[in-house]
Amino acid sequence: MKKKEVQALRLEFDGISENEAFSRQVISLFAASLDPTLEEISDLRVVISEAVTNCVVHAYKNKGGKIKIHARIFDDRTMKIKIQDFGCGIADIEKCMEPLYTTDPSGERGGMGFAIMQAMSRKFRVTSRPGIGTTLYIEFKFA
C-alpha cells in the first residue's frame, strides 16, 4: 500500500551561520508530532545542521544565498527532507562523500559532514550541478 503524506513544511531562509540553529530547531519541532526518541531527535538535529552548514560554508562560501527545505511526514512514520541550495555545486560528489575529506586547509574542519549525514539517516542521496546548486534527499524512519 502506498504511504500517505500527512504533514508538510516548506522553509526558505538565508544561508548564513545564524540560521544553522534556526533550521534544526524548526525541523525538530516539525518532527515532534511523531513523538521521537531522544536519539532520533538528536540525529535529526545533527543531520539538518550538517546539511545547512554545508550550504553556508561550501555552496555559498559564507557569503549567503537562498536555502530551501521541504520536509514531509508520512503515515508510516517516515520523514523525507529535501534541502536545496543554489550555490557553487559539487564537481565530484564521490570524493566529497569520503570520510575525512575536506577542502578546508586550516585543520579546523573534520571532513565528516557527509559521512555523519549518511550514518544518522535511513536514506541519503546527493545531486549537484556545478554552478547551479546542490540538493540533498534525506529520509528518516521513526520508531
Binding site: E18, E20, S49, T53, V56, G107, E108, R109, A115
Partner: protein, 113 residues
C-alpha cells in the same frame, strides 16, 4: 556569543575549558578564538575540553577538537576531553576520534585515558 557559554579554570598546568550549550559552525569560531587565546596566555601542559553541558554538537565540534588537539601537540602539550555526552560520543565514534583523542569521565574516572 550566542547559544554557548565558555568558562576557564587553570591549575597545576591544566587549563579546563568548560563549554555549555550548542557547538555548531556558528559558535565554533568564537569558541576556538577564546580557547586559543587562553592557551597562549596560560601556556598549559594539558588542555581539557569539558563537555558535560554541551546540548548539541555537529561535525563543527569535531573540527574544533581536532584543531585544538593539533595545536596542543605542536606546543608540546596534550588535549583531553572530559564528560562527553552520549550524543557527543556518538559523533566522536563515527569519526574514529574516540581512539585518537584521550577522553574521560570525571565521575567514573579514566575511560580511554
Amino acid at each position: 556569543m550566542e547559544a554557548v557559554n565558555l568558562t576557564f579554570d587553570c591549575r597545576d598546568g591544566v587549563l579546563t575549558a568548560a563549554i555549555a550549550g550548542e557547538i555548531d559552525h556558528h559558535t565554533a569560531r568564537p569558541l576556538r578564538d577564546a580557547i586559543d587565546g587562553e592557551v597562549i596566555r596560560r601556556r598549559p601542559k594539558v588542555l581539557v575540553l569539558a563537555l558535560k553541558d554541551v546540548s548539541f554538537m555537529d561535525s563543527s565540534g569535531l573540527g574544533l577538537m581536532l584543531g585544538r588537539f593539533t595545536r596542543m601537540q605542536s606546543l608540546g602539550g596534550q588535549m583531553k576531553i572530559a564528560d562527553p555526552t552520549p550524543e557527543v560520543m556518538k559523533i566522536l565514534r563515527l569519526a574514529g576520534f574516540d581512539k585518537k583523542i584521550v577522553w574521560f569521565s570525571t565521575e567514573k574516572g579514566g575511560v580511554n585515558a
